[in-house]
């Protein structure tokens, strides 16, 4: 089973490396959104420092959602998805492999570029570190939950917008606690650890349930 997971993971990473566009579009979208806020809201230090956690997290949400459409679309179009569904492997494991690859290609870059946000938004080093960590724990949850939306909307017109409509409400807890963690890090009384416990709990729950739900959604969509 682990071999199947690894095979799918490596396959998807190889495909993305050869296509190249996916990784960069998500990353640049994130950077653009981050850069737009100071232009729209004004570049006053205090303001930016205050809105930074929310802005960073929302930009990560939106970037993550944009990339979701491509999670299954290509495999669906060329028939490899149904072939995967016909292997003797548990579909949830294969899904987990695809989602893991997806996160490595679209979520992890955001985690790595987050210090840029710290820079542009005058965040103290503590807050930047918390931001990076919160994204590290939270973006996999976004990929896992988003996969369910991507599986439900396979092959539909207006897929991207539809996914957003379906998935954004489900992202709210991660947003609240992810941004909350960063805000708490600036506050002496804030208990950042509690936030991370919650985020980790979400991650574990998502790891357990989401591949299974995504597999069910795929079976519905592929009929």
């Amino acid at each position: 089973m682990f071999r199947a997971f690894r095979t799918v993971l490596m396959r998807d990473i190889t495909l993305a490396m050869r296509r190249r566009t996916d990784v960069f579009t998500t990353l640049f979208f994130f950077i653009i959104v981050i850069s737009l806020f100071p232009l729209g809201v004004g570049a006053e230090q205090q303001t930016l420092r205050f809105i930074a956690p929310g802005v960073a997290w929302i930009a990560a949400l939106l970037a993550s959602m944009l990339a979701l459409e491509r999670l299954f679309a290509s495999d669906y179009a060329d028939g490899t998805l149904e072939q995967m569904m016909l292997t003797p492997q548990p579909l949830a494991v294969l899904v987990l492999g695809k989602v893991a690859a997806h996160w490595l290609l679209t979520g992890l870059p955001l985690v790595l570029i987050a210090p840029l946000v710290g820079l542009q938004y005058y965040l103290p080093p503590d807050a930047t570190r918390t931001l990076v960590l919160s994204l590290l724990v939270g973006t996999p949850v976004l990929s896992l939950i988003g996969a369910i939306g991507a599986a439900l909307t396979l092959g539909l017109r207006g897929g991207g917008i539809l996914i957003s409509l379906l998935i954004l409400p489900l992202y709210i807890p991660v947003l609240v606690y992810g941004a909350g963690a960063v805000m708490a890090s600036g506050d002496e009384l804030g208990n950042v650890q509690a936030y991370f416990l919650l985020l980790s709990a979400f991650l574990i729950l998502a790891l357990i349930f989401s591949p299974w739900a995504t597999a069910a959604a795929l079976r519905i969509s592929v009929e």
Partner: protein
């Protein structure tokens, strides 16, 4: 008979209910029930409004007369949540037993649920304006209602985006179930954005402390809303049945369809 094949799909259950699991059998039954539900709904709602406006205290704290908007507001909020659970219940039955009628019930329930959510938001905004001076203030309860509205809309949007009825039903059903599982987490995160100090969930006093007349009005209103929901949902369900089964012979023979 086609309908028989669908009704007996899956599990052998001795309950009579499975006799009505086919659209053809349920259609006339629903038709007979609808007038009764309307007969229960309209007087209940009227009574609740009357009781709420005329038999409850003139002034409740500083909120003056306008607090009476809570009768439809609370009722609508309750309905919006209950109907979501009902919708998910039918969706789950449909997925497990593969019965078409269950999915039709879920589809019929969604718009009414969304309507109540919208009503709850609207009356809540009105109440907020008259009591606290703002139309909207991100109160956790109101925000939760807003999210619930998004969940309903997502369900309806997904269903209408998929052409194939079967896929649409099942995909939307799965979405609704996932939504229901996430709802407690979502509501909790909105209520307790700071995990170390949880704001009191709805500074709601226990029901014993609430004036009896107010309770009467609220429960009768809720009952009235339930009856209204049954009536409207069954009416919508009949339309859905007609639309989906339009090629079936029993539909062609109906007086309202026959030429």
């Amino acid at each position: 008979m086609k309908q028989g094949a669908h009704a007996n799909q899956g599990v052998h259950v001795k309950l009579n209910l499975f006799r009505f699991a086919s659209p053809a059998a349920f259609y006339p039954l629903a038709g007979r029930l609808i007038p009764w539900f309307w007969a229960l709904a309209l007087p209940s709602i009227a009574f609740a409004l009357y009781w709420g406006f005329f038999h409850t205290p003139e002034i409740l704290s500083e909120q003056k007369q306008y607090y009476r908007i809570i009768f439809p507001h609370v009722g609508a909020a309750w309905m919006s949540m209950w109907l979501y659970v009902v919708m998910v219940g039918w969706a789950a039955v449909g997925l497990v037993f593969n019965t078409r009628l269950s999915f039709m019930m879920a589809s019929a329930t969604a718009p009414t649920g969304a309507l109540f959510t919208f009503l709850a938001l609207w009356t809540g905004a009105f109440w907020g304006k008259t009591s606290w001076g703002t139309w909207w203030d991100w109160d956790p309860r109101m925000t939760s209602e807003l999210i619930l509205l998004f969940l309903y809309i997502g369900y309806m949007a997904l269903q209408s985006a998929i052409d194939d009825t079967r896929r649409a039903d099942r995909a939307a059903a799965l979405l609704a179930i996932v939504g229901l599982i996430c709802v407690p987490i979502i509501f909790w995160s909105i209520n307790c954005p700071d995990p170390t100090q949880c704001a009191a969930l709805h500074q709601r006093s226990s029901l014993e402390h609430v004036e009896r007349n107010i309770l009467v009005a609220m429960f009768v209103m809720a009952f009235g809303f339930w009856m209204y929901s049954f009536a409207v949902i069954l009416m919508r369900l009949r339309n859905i049945i007609l639309a989906r089964e339009r090629h079936a012979s029993w539909v062609m023979q109906l007086p309202e369809v026959g030429r």
